[in-house]
Symmetry: C2
Subunit: 393 residues, 2 copies
């Protein structure tokens, strides 16, 4: 008998098939007519499939009538057209095998809504919630599109070192990687820590960026990208800081700033477009239950041309905005989040590529313009998020 995912079994094309479904019970409801409705979810999509279990099944009284949220089952039967609302199909079970029970007294994921903070306490179970399941499916699509985009564009995927002995332009505080026991470290005759006896014979850290290694590959292979974990040991507890996160870093030889801007725009349009195309059910859930500003923001990225604006023009717009900003506007100063949000959300109301920043606020290696004051750098700002990509020639 064919094993189908819930997603496959919910399609009208599955009607008439004999199928095996495997997943976790969300709810069970018993009908007076002598059967039970089991809502089954397997993570392949947000929606459940309704499994109809007849009282004539041999384990009906002993097992099926005791199924509760979180129980793990295999159901075999025929997929039939459903008369129910919001579902094209249902499974008429000829067999229901219970693999694992979930004690309703202690299983925490009951039908009520739990806060994300509360779900942190059940990290081993939260992927079974609608919200985290939807996040993981969207995240998977984003990752897939990242690879598809670069592969289609002829970029080679390279893995740059995670453990490194070099810093990268002081991008942030670093974590030390060591096998030295701090309770009893080896010391030099002068009393210093003897890193020659550490695993890599010298002080070693977690990478803050693969940029340096990426440049080495790009100046040999033309166009490369990295997509891997990156680490910052900054003790900042904000929604914009993470100790560990996955980052994409493309490097392309011979690219000029306009090439970078084209790449950044088509990259974001591809990823967001794919998510809009392939994750409609999950996005509709976010829109309805989490935040109704998500869909318009994504649609703006996918459909609107990105406005290209020099830093100097942006400063003029901000100066003449009449807005009261917490941080002062002055040519030469870094833009703050409030300035970026005003530009992209209020003034332009579309994604913005800011370019040609003052050289004094950017790293030394960026190409200096003929004015000797600005460099070929860019930041991509999108409504609702702020800076999402930075780059330079």
């Amino acid at each position: 008998m064919t094993v189908l995912t819930v997603k496959q079994a919910r399609a009208a094309t599955a009607i008439g098939q004999s199928a095996t479904l495997q997943g976790w019970v969300r709810t069970r409801r018993d009908s007076k007519g002598g059967f039970s409705f089991i809502e089954l979810n397997d993570g392949s999509c947000l929606a459940n499939i309704q499994v109809i279990a007849d009282a004539a099944l041999p384990n009906y009284e002993l097992e099926i009538k005791h199924l509760t949220a979180g129980c793990s089952v295999t159901a075999r039967g025929e997929v039939k057209e459903s008369g129910g609302r919001g579902q094209a199909t249902e499974l008429h079970a000829a067999e229901v095998v219970v693999h694992g029970w979930a004690d309703p007294e202690s299983y925490p994921l009951q039908k009520k809504r739990h806060s994300l903070e509360k779900l942190r306490e059940w990290a081993h179970l939260r992927p079974r919630t609608n919200t985290i399941g939807a996040v993981m499916r969207v995240r998977n699509q984003v990752c897939r599109s990242i690879h598809d985009f670069f592969q289609d564009a002829g970029f080679l995927y390279v893995q740059t070192p995670i453990i490194t002995a070099s810093d990268c332009e002081g991008a942030g505080e670093m974590f030390r990687v060591t096998t030295i026991d701090p309770a009893n470290p080896p010391r030099t005759p002068q009393g210093q820590i003897d890193y020659a006896q550490d695993f890599f014979d010298r002080p070693s850290y977690l990478t803050v960026s693969g940029q340096l290694e990426g440049e080495i590959y790009a100046t040999a292979l033309g166009k490369i990208y990295t997509f891997g974990p990156t680490f910052r040991a900054e003790n900042s507890n904000t929604s914009r800081h993470l100790a560990e996160f996955w980052m994409v870093e493309p490097e392309a030889a011979f690219y000029e700033l306009s090439d970078n801007m084209d790449l950044a725009e088509s990259f974001l349009k591809r990823i967001v477009g794919d998510v809009l195309d392939h994750c409609q059910e999950d996005l509709a859930f976010f829109h309805e239950r989490i935040d109704d500003s998500v869909l318009p923001a994504l649609t703006a990225v996918a459909e609107q041309p990105f406005e290209r604006l020099s830093y100097t023009e942006a400063i003029k717009l901000l100066e003449s905005s009449g807005e009261k900003f917490e941080f002062p506007i002055a040519w030469g100063a870094d833009l703050q989040a409030e300035h970026e949000r005003w530009l992209t959300e209020k003034k332009i109301q579309a994604p913005v590529v800011l370019h040609d920043y003052p050289r004094t606020i950017k790293p030394f290696y960026m190409r200096v313009n003929d004015d000797d004051k600005t460099v070929r750098a860019m930041d991509v700002l999108v409504p609702r998020v702020g800076e999402i990509i930075g780059g330079s020639q």
Copy 2:
């Protein structure tokens, strides 16, 4: 003018196009006829394209005639059919712009062959060699196929934590991740190291496996895979040990051992098949210049059915082999590399899936068979490599 990669410009379909090519000079040779042949490589493929630069070009005497290996150039002109051997096309340059020079006295990558050991000293330049360039293109294809395989099979890509406070079945020695200064660590009143003052408030390490987190996602989302860096602090300097490497870990709910074996076989066949299809030029180079056992080994993985053999059967074959092994054969002992190689390379001469190992040599969480002595575990062995995949129900 269209920017083409060398790979694109070498295709017969490019003939007649006006094109811009950008890359690095491999060699320059001057003809008595009043022009120079420049072999240009850009990493898009192993082969170079021949650029023909006429002495009439304005920078011919001053620049073009001084081009040497490693110089970075843009060449614009027309792609024409070539009369040369091994090339369908060549570029007749209307313009050659030199972006960067490479001093032939100090640029180390000269036409002679360098050992891989020697190339380690020039890590910033070795991706420009034929060997490392070919390795990186094949590695890119492998990574692409890993993602394509799992995405096509409905597995979700998840990123499991790199920094972790938990060990995973003692898979190996771990690296500590810390912001504590070992020269002056915080101590508790009892004189112990006070890890409550470390970044994560407790001792933290680099992951040796994402298996535990992967299982959490699989028992919610059905089928997941990880593909990320993994770390082992074992001080073993062998060709089978790395301190840092990228690993693939699929986890699937409801899978039985035969499903694992099917997955492992189709996974390897897909990756190797894709490499054989898409990296022919690079594989031919390895075959000719590095090791002529690579192509037959890959072809065997792609084309031969994997032989499935229980551990108990394997022990019998080994006992009756008449071979002199360094390590003794006995039911209950782990197989050594010499035993695995004999099985896959000499006896079976194909990839082998060994299954149902003694429970005493495998971790506690594997499903025990009815014999109470063996567990539903498997290892995939391939000729020339040995164990390449391990798994269990």
